[in-house]
Assembly symmetry: D3
Homo-oligomer: 229 residues x 6
């Protein structure tokens, strides 16, 4: 598939994206049945970053960031750029100039399965980046990959137009057509959690709130008084 750029993609509904961004990564991951979560090495370059949007996908090769430049053109305001790499590589494929470009063109953020550099300036400009590493190592523009075909990024298959949600907990992918359903499930989960949070704050036990004692006993859990020594 190397050598192909798909110019147009379907995008997800903006209100669903907004709802998912508000819910955050952990809730969205749970709301869609504990799927779609990228591996935990994908970390924000600066704490507090938060982003969600339709994925424009790109595949780069090790030590080469050419396809990020290509992807900038097909990206639309509100999108999140998701960059995979054909092998395990932490070179600094993205820096403040590309961040300037992505920001100017309306990108909401970047998910990068390679290294990021210029993290000082990128933090100052508050452009949200999640990456595998921080590295100033320069990259070449020599080998073509592809744009807007499916990629595997940090262990998760991302198709163009799928929604990506990212915050301090990491990054989760929601299939495009599931957006509204997942957002709704997440909001319901939040409501339940709000009730439970209030009970926990008063000192109630999750053992009682979630009614776990019977299940534990069935699995053979036994209490002894102690202390044992």
């Amino acid at each position: 598939m190397n050598g192909t750029v798909v110019k147009n993609i379907h995008r997800a509904d903006a209100s669903a994206i907004a709802a998912l961004e508000k819910l955050g990564v952990a809730t969205v991951h749970e709301a869609q049945g504990r799927s779609g979560l990228m591996l935990p090495y994908m970390r924000p370059v600066w704490r507090g970053a938060r982003a969600a949007g339709s994925a424009v996908t790109a595949l780069c090769h090790p030590g080469d960031n050419w396809m990020i430049h290509v992807a900038c053109e097909v990206l639309k305001p509100g999108d999140v750029l998701v960059v995979a790499c054909s092998s395990d590589n932490a070179d600094g494929a993205f820096g403040d100039l590309l961040a300037t470009s992505l920001k100017a063109r309306g990108a909401k953020g970047l998910i990068l399965d390679m290294g990021c550099r210029d993290v000082g300036p990128i933090t100052e400009m508050a452009f949200p980046v999640w990456s595998k590493a921080i590295s100033a190592r320069g990259t070449v523009k020599g080998t073509v990959g592809y744009v807007n075909l499916p990629v595997v990024c940090a262990g998760i298959t991302v198709k163009p137009g799928d929604i990506v949600v990212a915050d301090d907990d990491g990054v989760v992918m929601v299939p495009r057509l599931d957006a509204a359903k997942v957002a709704k499930a997440g909001e319901e989960r939040e409501k339940k959690e709000a009730v439970n949070r209030a009970r926990l704050q008063k000192g109630e036990l999750s053992l009682d709130i979630y009614d776990m004692r019977k299940g534990l006993a069935e699995k053979g859990l036994k209490y002894v008084d102690g202390p044992l020594e």
Copy 2:
């Protein structure tokens, strides 16, 4: 030992715990003969966190956080919860609801040999957590482990009631019965260090303050003028 919860444990003396918390991890580790330090992958979820307390211990299984819920009940104000895992696993076994519960019940902090999620909210509520990873990956409640029996957490054996001290440098365990002795040794070490710090601030060399020149010469250290090239 799976399937056992010990309800009551011996706890360490509160004033010794307070003294150890004030001393911090590096000093406590040195004061007890350079032992008890967990492996350095055990890192605070937010910088500046600091905690010390008697350990309530729990063993979980990979992808399963059931025993954390069980441990909440037997924990008392001032305790630190220490959670080990039967295999190497970074799933997000702990989040803001459990943090709310632990805080409400008076726990001083959590040491977690698995992953932590909801790190944004946990940072806001300033609940101290040290973990092996940050991950939003959800966990099940399916397999029983145990509570308040000895565990190995990040390379260190922790028995219920041992003291755990944690700060930005990591986590150290002090055997319960050694608490007062270690606290005293740590305070003496701090006094000496204060004197040495003042001398170093004036520009004196540690070579002289610690009288190292003779030992170095005996080991064969030679000085040449240089530059060599």
Copy 3:
């Protein structure tokens, strides 16, 4: 070479050092042909740290920090101490007392291929440290290494007097005699980047600014309209 301390070294020109520090790691790395960059595991102990200076080099052995003490004596104001280790080791070879000493003697910073401890106090005193790990593990003073002979630190050969530049992106080494040349090349690069940054901010594409379209076509890049599904 164990057992040798070279007291005097050539140092780089102060104005070149100042210029390199201002340029920062990524620009310096690019300006000297993408060489000299340490492996990305070498990270600042606190965000925002920045340092540049002539390297005083030391080789320690695993679990032993004796040569750091020795190096303090031969170091001069403005130098950066670069500490390598003869094997892969993350023990806490450096803490607040040594930081106090280095600061008092005018060191600009420390690059440490071992672990750092007392990171709270070191952050407070704003002494710049880049290290492989954070660990409170204590070290002994038992085996002699050397000072001011070449070392390999995080994958890069550093000779005494070479310049080391470090910031949030990592650490880069510039050979002493290349300092002025690299500084000049970096400043020219910055000027070009300033122009390009302004164009990117207006929404121009890097594809056009860097004239990449022809090269991409020659490599066979094809555009299709999409969406594909």
Copy 4:
């Protein structure tokens, strides 16, 4: 998708599979444009193992091997079982009993993104297994995943019926419908390589055989006589 087992899948053409197995991983990977190769941590449990077949896919959860048992039923002679895991986990999900079962039912091999145990007996029975780790850690049967839906295994998306080829070099996936085309391209590549191998054996240089000198000169490669020191 957890909770679903797809009983029937399309399978690839047997002669194409046989051709791909003969070609081996490196040639197949090259023949399909350098795609489909799993990450290099996926290693054979014993040297010399070799397998190819249509993929029956399964998703397990950390510390849980239930879906491997489920997959045994839908697998047909000649298939290769590909097992992914919803998080990073090395527990011993597969041992000699399951190997006995897979062998009895005609499976050609197993690709396992978890740990393998009983490696002595499995080597003796010559059942081909590639895994992420060797570990005797036992697993539970508590959480359902799925069978014969797409998975990501060692960085590669595998759909049911895709072909998996594995040998001492690792594991590569070929999309089902590309099998014949890739086999043909691989055979042509082998013919060319045979010619080149003969020339290289006579001492000819790859620089000349592949006509690289002009390209190198254009990139600026310069020869100097030396020795330099």
Copy 5:
């Protein structure tokens, strides 16, 4: 505890040890409730090695193998030496001379949470070693640890006299007083497995042999015909 050598220890019953060795690591681990298994980085230096015995324990420090020499004296024929390290270190603490010594004194094998060297000669003399790494890095004799006090080795607490069983699958520890009980449970497990193995060899499914279908249905597993695409 540094600085202490305990000369005499309780040892486990020889027939129980022999039984456990015959059962092997995976069966022993299961037979004692899936506990005691060392982390999977602990690997045999040569394939086919097999050992079991009472543990003589030693704690070394990074880059230092002094306590292995000390342990040789207190070790008795049939023992297995278990060497832990106070920090994460892969230096070559053990080579062919120490292997010669251990073999001459009747040791059954070595479990080493550091590096091993001279692996060619050690393989030739067929002395069983499990280690964290292979490394020729030399070590010093400068810092005292201890012998025959509890250690944590590859994530498992080992007390002097506990039984250690090791084979191609890794290493498992059995508490001394549990030896006979675990051996018996393991033998029963083996008998059951032999029956099941015979049924699996005939092509019966584990789903039926272990009666899993009902449990799977209760967890919601659904079968669909397929193929889906």
Copy 6:
């Protein structure tokens, strides 16, 4: 330095090389004061491989093996090719065709700080390779590095003409001009070890042979009778 090929280098004395090869890695490493040993991730592709020779050095870039082709021309019979990479990369830069070429031209072996593929055929042809990884991932020929200038390979600076010795224990570098001296020191070490080996085989303790008891007592080692529990 990218873009430079040095055609001629000084080579070490053949008899010194032969002596070093016979001594092996561990002895050579010790004989030159425990220096020059590459990091332990550098492992032989097949067990039993053994090589020594003057180093021809090359620097490649991630995902690119062009300079290996260039190096083949300047290499002479008896040399060992040492390939470094400008960043951390495990792609399969070397396979059976290049092995055929190196063998035909008389190379003694390859040390590769990248990945190796075709390990089956390379093992059959018994060409000695040490590499960082096994990976079939294909590489491009797009970016020039250099040949016969100093490189850092697996943590060690190697200059053209330095001697490289490799066996099952790993890889060690001996500076060219030190070859004879190190060979002599190694042979003396071997003689002493032969004497000690004979004594150890008879059951004598290393504590006595190396006269360690006094030193241990001075460091405070104490013996207690035990058993303690």
